[in-house]
């Protein structure tokens, strides 16, 4: 084996090593966002707060807001208050929309879509009916002329 062969051999090995290095680098680059994401989750996990707690906080505060806001409603408008709360509680339609438009290729089933469809119908009866009947009622309240 000549010195030349040894040299070529070494050059080939160096080339392979370089290729390996390049492949690893590409992989790292490709995974970088996910890695960053994982690190982020790790950070959230490190504070030890479940997302549920944030929802619970919103819920508790909104209950208080509701308490004060509803007490300020004039008794003369209690019927429109009921019909409008009825209309806004139909925001549950967002869940029905997700279910009705669920992606069948991603494992969702027609069962889900049908439930979503029924939910969309019921909630939209309420949305349109609730807001429009409230509008109709409120238009009736007039001041002395």
């Amino acid at each position: 084996m000549s010195a030349l062969d040894e040299l070529r051999d070494a050059a080939e090995r160096a080339a392979e090593a370089t290729a390996d290095l390049a492949r690893i680098a590409t992989e790292i680059a490709a995974n970088a966002p996910e890695a960053a994401d994982a690190a982020g989750h790790g950070a959230a996990a490190a504070t030890g707060i479940d997302p549920f707690m944030f929802r619970l906080a919103i819920f508790a505060l909104a209950c208080f807001v509701g308490y004060y806001v509803v007490w300020s409603v004039t008794p003369a408008l209690h019927t429109p208050l009921m019909s409008v709360t009825n209309a806004i509680s139909s925001v549950i339609v967002v869940g029905a929309l997700v279910a009705a438009g669920a992606d069948l290729d991603a494992g969702a089933t027609w069962t889900t879509r049908i439930f979503g469809f029924l939910g969309v119908i019921l909630a939209s009866v309420n949305i349109f009916g609730g807001f429009l009947v409230t509008e109709r009622m409120l238009a009736m309240y007039k001041k002395k002329d």
Partner: protein, 467 residues
Amino acid sequence: MANLAAFAYLVSGILFILALRGLSHPTTSRQANRFGMIGMALAMATTLFIFSPPSGFGGVLLILIGLGIGGSIGATIAKRVPMTSMPQLVAAFHSLVGLAAVFVAAGALYSPEAFDIGVPGAIHTGSIIEMSLGVAIGAVTFTGSVIAFAKLDGRMSGAPILLPSRHMINLGLGAALVLMVTLLISTQWTGWFWLITLAALALGVLLIIPIGGADMPVVISMLNSYSGWAAAGIGFTLGNTALIITGSLVGSSGAILSYIMCKGMNRGFISVILGGFGGDDAGPAASGAGDDRPVKRGSAEDAAFIMQNAGSVIIVPGYGFAVAQAQHALREMGDILKDSGVTVKYAIHPVAGRMPGHMNVLLAEANVPYDEVFELEDINSEFAQADVAYVIGANDVTNPSAKTDPNSPIAGMPVLDVEKAKTVLFVKRSLGAGYAGIENPLFFMDNTMMLLGDAKKMTEDIVKSMD
């Protein structure tokens, strides 16, 4: 994108808060309703375009058809429903929210991936708990509201239906619900979900049938509250801020209204819920103690003469006024009186009618300006100076025995002091007792003149006699 969607949901939650806030006065109320509409449109658009765009043509079509069917039904109902039927309508709408909550939870159960809460058979424990709470409250709201609707719409007797040992049955169902929720979490068997739904549906019926017609204002407010909590439960499952905020707003709104209604009747919330009070018609023909006492009867001409010669008239409407659809005739009478220089005011008891604010809406429909309509605490002191109190379709809310007789079933209930007016004109179909089955001593007082007849017919006759 997820953050943008979350932000948009937060904005629509805030718009809903503003929608309720604006109801503090009639002048800001219409704008408030618009805020509500914008909030709803924003929440729906966010879901469709950012949060979870429907997949494929099929999904889009399904949603459009659903919105079309529901929307046109809703809009038609809103346009046609008579104002006297608002309590039934609101009860019916509550039932839809309840059922929609059940459907959304079912959708999430069968395709948890779509809602990002796990995979079938391995849904996150927290999500399962929230989901089962949402579905249980939703199902109770659904059947409860259907019963309330039937009672309010006269499709079912308003009389309480008292099953033997009903409290034990309800407690048993409640315990079964808790047990099945734990089983659903541990086994993830969808059968448990449906059994929970069934038990909750039964519970909804059983909770409302023992409650009598007169307690409907509390029931309807309570169901309002339940529909809110159901929405909040689903909001937790979906992690949706708009739903959580709205659910808690509606939940507290209904709770406060129930409280106001209970206070208006001087009844404890628990005693209303346990039921058994008051039927549709006068229950056992009250004691009969005063039936032989003299009652002064009058005609429409007498009433017209008295009122036209009065300086001030306070009109006290009640449920019978709504049933008789007398609001337009009443406003006409008020107009004639005002034209002849009589001061006319309207006094509203918190529980007059079958839902909170029911009388105010009917008077508004008949074009009575809202600044002539007063709440109990604002007007009660004025009866002593009034020449005439015109009581139309109200009974128990004017019963002075609530103040004088500690043994009366309505003892302590705040009542309108109509007996202090110089003359009480009491329009009533017959001399029977009111919904609570209690005799009203007002009928036999010296300054009371009974105008026996239908509320609308009598008022129209009075209007004719005034010409």
